[in-house]
């Protein structure tokens, strides 16, 4: 089960050259700065851009190969556009029905999708009577109701303000958990990617810089993601217990444990943690005198310079989990950090995604 693709396409001042194999399920994020070719790649996959001589195989179905080109409307895909793209002349129900009645596939249960996206009460409204977030939820539902074998999402949150984003993100996470089909998710927002993606494709100027599992790829120190101010890694953890006395929740991951403020979570539940490199500091010994709660034993894997002459990036192995720490160059020299050194990573804060 996989998505294989190869596209080359030139435009004035821009060329796309991508060859990828993506997982056949879960969320793959196409990540990169604007102008990196994310959207173009997504449009090529949809067939909205006619990339001559390309190749695209989705879970065994050939959609495009050499001269063979399956037109967009014959590809079993769902596409969610960046801005609201509902048909203004149809109600929500009419919009949902539009794709549903044209789909040849096993259309999923309408009720379940309405509930999942929380739009059951909007059916009779016209799109101009919906908020931005509601519109995108309807657009997602409409795409899902065509029984797609691949869901393509082009920065579905980019046109929304942060409040609407917060409103819709939980729905996207639910999508991630409940859908058996692969999702390709274009984004230039690192936090969205950290939250939703399983697989990360890094694009720059129309080329693929890296493609791999999210945690592994984010922890790579050789990629531009590591040089970013907001460089971060993600950790897949499990809810292990609660400390009722101190009002804390314990999360286990391969390499250690992390404590967070008490959350009402079921024991054994999976949770994703995001740790910003600038929130990790390094000590040579376990500093019992520190107020920092999360201190993990680690081993220095590599130290590299960053764009900022005052700072360096340190890659750490915490058990089987790779982490990044951004520290000053001066601290590096004072601590004498070199690869394979045993140190303690102190984590000032984490974000918890469910």
């Amino acid at each position: 089960m996989s998505i294989e693709l190869r596209f080359t396409r030139s435009y004035p001042g821009f060329a796309l050259e991508a060859e990828l194999v993506l997982p056949g399920r879960g969320v793959s994020a196409l990540f990169g700065p604007s102008g990196s070719g994310k959207t173009t790649l997504l449009r090529c996959i949809a067939g909205l851009e006619k990339a001559g001589g390309g190749r695209l195989v989705v879970n065994g179905e050939v959609w495009q190969d050499g001269d063979f080109f399956l037109p967009v409307h014959r590809r079993a895909l769902g596409y969610v556009f960046q801005e609201a793209s509902l048909f203004p002349h149809l109600t929500v129900a009419g919009n949902l029905d539009y794709g549903k009645k044209r789909s040849a596939g096993d259309v999923p249960d309408l009720r379940a999708i309405l509930d999942m996206l929380g739009i059951a009460h909007l059916l009779q409204r016209k799109p101009d009577r919906l908020s931005g977030g509601e519109r995108q939820r309807v657009a997602i539902a409409r795409a899902l109701l065509t029984a797609p074998k691949l869901l393509l999402m082009d920065e579905p949150l980019a046109a929304l303000d942060s409040q609407r984003k917060r409103e819709i993100l939980p729905y996207l996470e639910r999508l991630h958990d409940s859908l058996a089909i692969p999702i390709l998710y274009v984004s230039h927002a690192a936090d969205e990617v950290a939250r939703l993606a399983d697989h990360l494709v890094l694009l720059e100027q129309g080329r693929v810089l890296a493609s791999g599992p999210l945690a592994e790829t984010l922890a790579r120190i050789d990629l531009p993601t590591a040089a970013d101010e907001d460089a971060a890694i993600v950790i897949e953890a499990t809810v292990a217990g609660h400390d009722e006395a101190y009002h804390l929740t314990r999360l286990d991951f391969p390499g250690g444990i992390i404590w967070v403020t008490r959350r009402d979570l079921e024991i054994g539940r999976k949770a994703r943690l995001r740790v910003l490199a600038r929130d990790v500091s390094i000590a040579l010994s376990e500093d019992a005198g520190s107020s920092i709660l999360n201190r993990l034993s680690a081993c220095v894997r590599a130290v590299v310079d960053t764009d900022n002459p005052a700072q360096v990036m340190v890659q750490l192995d915490v058990g089987d989990t790779a982490m990044l720490a951004r520290i000053t160059r001066r601290s590096r020299d004072q601590l004498g950090l070199v690869p394979n050194m045993r140190v303690w990573a102190q984590i000032k804060s984490v974000s918890l995604f469910l």
């Binding site: 949809a46 067939g47 909205l48 037109p71 967009v72 409307h73 014959r74 895909l77 769902g78 596409y79 556009f81 793209s85 048909f87 203004p88 002349h89 539009y98 794709g99 044209r102 789909s103 040849a104 101009d128 409409r142 795409a143 065509t146």
Partner: protein, 228 residues
Amino acid sequence: MFLNDGDIQAMFLTVKLATVVTVILLFIGTPIAWWLARTRSPWKRPISAVVTLPMVLPPTVLGFYLLVLMGPQGPLGRLTEALGLGLLPFTFTGLVVASIFYSLPFAVQPLQQAFDAIGERPLEVAATLRASPLDTFFSVVLPLARPGFTTAAVMSFAHTVGEFGVVLMIGGNIPGKTRVLSVQIYDHVEALEFAQGHWLAGGLLLFSFCVLLLLYRNNPLGAAERRT
């Protein structure tokens, strides 16, 4: 009542002509406007210019060239004769053909603008929802371009009702066949029969006003803008 039988005959003929021309123009104008709105062909500008030409050409000039074109020596005349249709000038069919040429920009331009305003996105959305291009045209483009169709129909109709120079040139002013209202009014005025001229002109004005009012009430101007 000041209207004579000839006036009433001319009125019915005019409505018949305008209706036939409007219907045909919507059928012809739609693919032309669609092509013009969507194409990136280098032919877009020349074709656009040709379609717009009747707007700038004086009607008598257009009428004269159509007369030549449809005449026994003209290519169109030879074609219709070869097809056994005879010559078109001085027939109702000839009037219809001439009026179609004359009113074409009034149908094509509002349609093209409406199609332009829809943009690429709804078509792409429809394609990702499994709609074939033809399906998309009927299920998305037509409903979204409805104000454009209304405008095109109103303009074509009104322009055909009001057209004079071309009709005069092609029609030969035959009562019941090609003598339409505008010609009848002109004849009244030229013959200094102002009373009858006023009645007819006033009636035409009132009729046109009512048609426009009715259509605009059902289809407020600017609906297309508000949608986007």
